[in-house]
Amino acid sequence: MCGTCGCTEGEQRIDARAQGEGTSRMIEVHLDIMAKNDRYAAANRLHLEEIGVLALNMVSSPGSGKTTLLVETIAALGPSAASVIEGDQQTRRDADRIRATGARAVQINTGKGCHLDAHIVGHALRDLAPDRDSVVFIENVGNLVCPAGFDLGEAHKVVVLSVTEGEDKPLKYPDMFAAADLALISKTDLLPHLDVDMDAVVANALRINPALDILPVSARSGAGMDGWIDWIRAARSRVALGRPIDTAAE
């Protein structure tokens, strides 16, 4: 019986089928359901390494301030040092906001899709054709759940959590905080108006992922932006170091 509504649909179907068909056999298999996405992700990662580009997969709930933060980040890095793949269910607004900075952007509309996958990002990367040594920000669909399970080939997932969302979010959405390498606690300019406990936000995030880097930022006031830019530069130099010697020499 269906646990949700008490229907017996499934049972009837099994009975009908049992009468009509021949003998069955069992096959043992080992089929990884994420294998296809993971193959595309590995291809993206290889491509990014070859072209010496740092890709950061920016994940958060809707409205945490990802696009605003990216606009300010591009202003700090310089519009030719960064480009953006924007993932939203609908509209081209976020890509337009990025292009207004002078940086290049590609918009992906996922329609009903709740996450970006490695295949669609691979196409977007080829359309974007990022410059060597630049940074590609992939702004994922605003959703603190599903994007956690999809590797896009990025170097790091960066989870953005705004101070207005509450200190319990790392505990309620642990998969995302476990998958990320950096958590940006955004909109810290609003802290004087809130009773959120920043120490508890940090403690909860570290409870889920003890290796997580955590940086407070405000795109509005600029506080903490230096720390975030330094983090990006350090990650970018690790990409440069990891590059094969023959391509690094060009």
Partner: protein, 113 residues
């Protein structure tokens, strides 16, 4: 609801397997799911019936097998079994557990005709 797109991947894999392993229909499918696979079993069941409709696995039974999760304690170094991300180290009581296994999401057995 990425469970729908996962079900679509499952359907494609079954279609490939049907050609490779020469079967007509799938009656039952065993799916191994780890505690850190980012999958909600109920949502998967819900999507499964809808996505398999009209395919070789229409009406197939979905058996969900849970895979164990493992973690390494960053405090005492022990490798321990864990069921969720809030677990404390059973050896030393510390919360500094780094998950090392349990993201499985795979088809492990099929009953076919």
């Amino acid at each position: 609801m990425h469970e729908i797109s996962l079900c679509e991947s499952i359907r494609e894999m079954l279609e490939d397997q049907a050609i490779e392993q020469r079967f007509e229909r799938v009656r039952r499918i065993w799916l191994e799911i780890g505690p850190f696979s980012c999958v909600e079993p109920d949502a998967l069941r819900f999507g499964f019936d809808a996505v398999m409709r009209g395919s070789l696995a229409e009406g197939a039974d979905l058996e969900i097998v849970s895979a164990p999760g493992a973690a390494k304690c960053l405090n005492c170094g022990a490798t321990v079994r864990v069921a969720d991300r809030f677990a404390l180290c059973p050896q030393c009581g510390h919360a500094a557990l780094q998950v090392t296994a349990g993201d499985e999401l795979r088809i492990c057995k099929l009953e076919v005709v």
